[in-house]
Symmetry: C2
Subunit: 111 residues, 2 copies
DNA sequence: CAGTATCCTGCCAGATACTG
DNA sequence: CAGTATCTGGCAGGATACTG
């Protein structure tokens, strides 16, 4: 899945999928769009994700230039995640998903 | 994953994810947004999906009201898939993904 | 707190055979 | 042509224990 530069598909939609289609990445984006978060905050907010997988997907997003990881050399340690401009530019996709999900739920409740 | 009405999450973004985050659904949408397609056309266009999985994900999308499946009682048989209005209303999400993927590739090629 | 290190589960892909 | 049925296997993701 990674080494993205080598495997970027021709279709731009597939390119986007390659970068954000893993199970938790959209929820990571949702949470970071409102600002910098610590690892523990993300884990709590996202829900049922395991530490290993959350760490792994955060690292991939860092490698792809979507977010920045900052380690504060304190005890206990503190690690913060912040979207880059490229990561933040995914906001229109999340907004569209938010709008559609809201409409869908409204329609379903009317049936 | 299915029985969507029972498990719709509170967050609208998660609701949308529940319906389109399976591996091939976004590509199915991409292909059907340009019009009705036959099963074989979808399979060819999407690429490496197996018959079994493509059938399964199309059925789920039908159950969720995103598309309609039409069987023509001919020999050889013909089955066509068409987006419903609800399915078509996902277009803004796909458009945003197209735009972002195009930009991302442009940025990557400049490095 | 924010991770590694292991081991394990289950989804999905691949291949093949069969049918209306 | 467009499926269904069955078996196999790889790998993303999950559970748990341990650590700087």
């Amino acid at each position: 899945m990674q080494t993205v530069k080598k495997t970027l598909p021709a279709c731009p939609v597939e390119t986007t999928l390659t970068l954000i289609s893993d199970k938790w990445k959209v929820l990571i984006l949702r949470d970071l769009l409102t600002g910098t978060k610590r690892f523990g905050e993300l884990k709590k907010s996202i829900g049922n994700v395991s530490q290993k997988v959350l760490t792994s997907q955060l690292r991939q997003m860092e490698d792809n230039g979507l977010l920045v990881r900052t380690v504060y050399p304190e005890v206990p340690p503190r690690v913060e995640y912040t979207l880059t401009d490229v990561g933040y530019s995914l906001k229109p996709i999340l907004d569209a998903m938010w709008d559609w999900g809201t409409e869908y739920k409204k329609n379903m409740s009317e049936i």
